[in-house]
Homo-oligomer: 284 residues x 4
């Protein structure tokens, strides 16, 4: 498979002929589809699709694809995104004190598992500054107190703008983003250390241990104004037993968290996740 | 491994020498231990153990083992149960309309996976009467309305007594047992069709679908007066995707439910589950 | 989603415009696509797709869909199958002595998980005759010795023809079908009690125990002339430990086998499996 | 749970009273058992056990525990190991070019998941020298050709001795150790990138892709003179689909490999693995 690709993520009210109309747009312009996946949510009356095609030989120049497709999308009442595989999204990773997810994401970028640049690390602690330096990434320390939270979020938003950040990844950032922040920067993925909706909120491992569950989980989701209620991208679980203390759950959970977060970030970066309502379609 | 075995399930305050004292009781009487597993819950200060030994050659006759062991257990402040592997517990299965767990348990008994006799089926519907007949098992139809619930539970308790039932298995019985019932007959295992504590209560699959989870689960637990809050014996999960409608979750969940329930029942029947507080130790 | 659907399974050499051409055939005739999934195997240079659309309102009568699509498929050098969701495939289940997969398939048919009719049971043993009677299904006893195998296979082929069987399911049939049989009746799904290609051939659980593996598996595959080498449809696994004797592996394996076989049969019956070379695409 | 512990790993011919005799040795000397697990392999006639007790208050000084226990073990014909939890084993990690397992092990040591010191990295390539420097660990480059293999192994053995290495971890070391090396240094854990015994030997992911499996695995095992035939410590698996190219299997496999290897190393370092014949008991 040679050359770069373009991807359309589209959702619109269901009607006849959508697959034909949408794929014909690509074919008519000489594009070769390398991935096409469709989903119809009958109860919502919604058609959702992902189309990826090779740009080599495509007759429309890049800057005209959007406008040309818009002419098709508007009568269909469609919302859509257009992405090019060779554009490299810029990531900001937010952390507190724990380094396992950060380390994992840094290793994956180095190993070229992601097509993205980790441009910035923001933290409410100084603990991981040396790790950032080790990988040569800018680290901004923004401590949070109830009094300073609002002003620090303004600073953070400015940083995201300065660094031209496309996606924020909360890699064990133990603060809650305000509704105002999320409204201004909505592209945020969080890893929650439980199998949501079980143990939403604080101290999930301790509560899992107290409840005596036999399996624990982790959940990667988009952040919304409602804590731990955003659209779920990926979840996974691991068995535990009566021998596992809370510290063991935490240790086992770390492995889960970094796997689940990394998969979610990768799916997002490959433009495989389409959000509608409080749900996701994952075109995997 | 020849002959039958005896099993002690013991819990007592932790102190030095418990493994030695307890195993010496068996050794001193000529018993050969075939399974011994111990667990210390340090935060609870509790020692919990399961000891299984061959009765062949054991010097104490069966009816004296309990009294003899009691003399050791009392100074240790221990609670304990003694079981013989060749005694066949008698089960009552309670169902509503769905037959998948019932069918599965009946097949397993037929296949001799359980050392138990399914002596009785109780239902608040007539739907599964013919299945009961097919397997030659007594079926008692006890319809429940808010008005009749109390009297029907009295009838049910009488049936459990008449049939000398050791364990009740709620195999998709869609009624809530009263606190009074559970107090009088506490040995009840339920299968809940969610990954508890997520989606406790009614309609878990529909709520899981609405929440957009990527994994669903099932939980087998002992029944207590608090709905879906009893000690968990076993859980398992299966992946779902955006393609799965609520009906698909229900279908996939049925496979989970019967596996999880069967494993829990088997563990209980092998005397491998020790309850303390709201938790279980599973000596698997 | 109302009414019945038609499904096309298509494979052809990859070229530009296939999604557009194929979906336009359906759209041009007034069909509403409810599921479309495509896969390109770049190393094989092959495009593979599944298209399912609602027949209600489709302008072509059923008997003309095939010929009309053939006119499109021939210049594309495509091989294809056309299925209607309301046609009910007829199954023959082959068993030996073990009943767990048979029981499971019978229960699923009864529970309407499959859109299929189990029309016939063939066995080289008499053991499961009563189970067949219990479910009211014809049972043919065809004992096999090295001397009689060839003639018994001829009888079996005749039965498959007499009963108009579409799919044979080997549900723990412990005989090997001859190459000649498979050539004459190639639509056969087998469940192998190991995680293929590990432990192909006889006694996989015993060999798994001897090897000391920590996980066992089961594999459902189409049968070819090469034993246990056919295209894999579905696999799954379960953990085992040093405590598990071979008999425990067999018991745990039974649960795996029936789940994996049932999933594979269901996928096949929903026309979601496309074989090419020795591989499958599963449009799940 | 305060203070350090001692652990005995014991295997001996099965006979009556072993649990009592062994635990009485500890009790009689004032030890408090914190973990005791036993296994009887009836077909091998073997009793295998792990006993861990608190050293605080134990009447025997450390250097006398071994001799004292030897007096009990000899008449039982037992083989045994004695370990102290506060002794820190020294590890050598062997790598080739791939860094994912190395990185993971280094992170875990840093995160104090292991009670061990990574004292030495040996490689047949120079690729990971900078990673070693980043973590401040000695790196020895020992390139291997068919002609130099024997002399390089001698050098490696000398290094293991110089650095007083207790355990070698082959973290994607793509060379085969000679039988002579293994005889001289038998404490070696390897990660094989397949679900053994499937795809033993070279290129397992490519072969898995060609076979069209639906699940891939990884296996951590002790190294013996027979390639990929040593006792298995841990295995795990992940689902793949027709969409996964060999490069995807490799990527998914990396996550598996580092998890499985880390779990195996941890189990070994906690003295939870007992090898007998070609099998392991994992007292987890």
């Amino acid at each position: 498979m040679a050359g770069t690709t373009a991807t359309l993520l589209i959702s619109c009210p269901d009607q006849q002929g959508l697959v034909a109309k949408l794929s014909s747009f690509i074919y008519a312009n000489g594009g070769n589809i390398v991935h096409a996946d469709h989903h119809t949510d009958f109860s919502a009356g919604l058609f959702l699709t992902r189309l990826e095609w090779q740009l080599e030989g495509f007759k429309l120049p890049r800057d005209l694809i959007g406008p040309a497709f818009g002419a098709i999308a508007t009568p269909l009442n469609a919302t859509w995104q257009l992405h090019f595989a060779d554009s490299v999204p810029r990531l900001a990773i937010w952390v507190s004190r724990q380094d396992h997810c950060l380390f994992d994401l840094l290793w994956r970028q180095k190993a070229q598992e992601f097509s993205a640049e980790i441009a910035l690390i923001i933290s409410n602690h100084e603990a991981l500054q040396s790790t950032a330096e080790q990988f040569g990434i800018d680290y901004h320390y923004l401590p949070i107190t109830p009094e300073t939270k609002a002003t620090q979020e303004v600073k953070a938003l400015q940083l995201l703008q300065d660094y031209r950040i496309d996606l924020v990844v909360l890699a064990k950032y133990m603060q809650i983003l305000s509704a105002s922040f999320v409204a201004q920067f909505p592209r945020v993925i969080n890893i929650h250390h439980s199998f949501l909706p079980a143990f939403a909120g604080a101290n999930p491992y301790q509560r899992a241990h107290e409840r005596g569950v036999k399996i624990i989980g982790a959940t990667a989701h988009y952040v919304t104004a409602d804590l731990d209620e955003g659209p779920i991208i990926e979840q996974d679980v691991v068995r535990v037993s009566h021998r596992d203390e809370t510290t063991d759950l935490i240790r086992k959970g770390k492995d889960l968290e970094r796997m689940v977060l990394a998969r979610a970030v990768r799916l997002h970066l490959q433009n495989r996740v389409l959000v509608y309502g409080n749900r996701t379609v994952v075109f995997a």
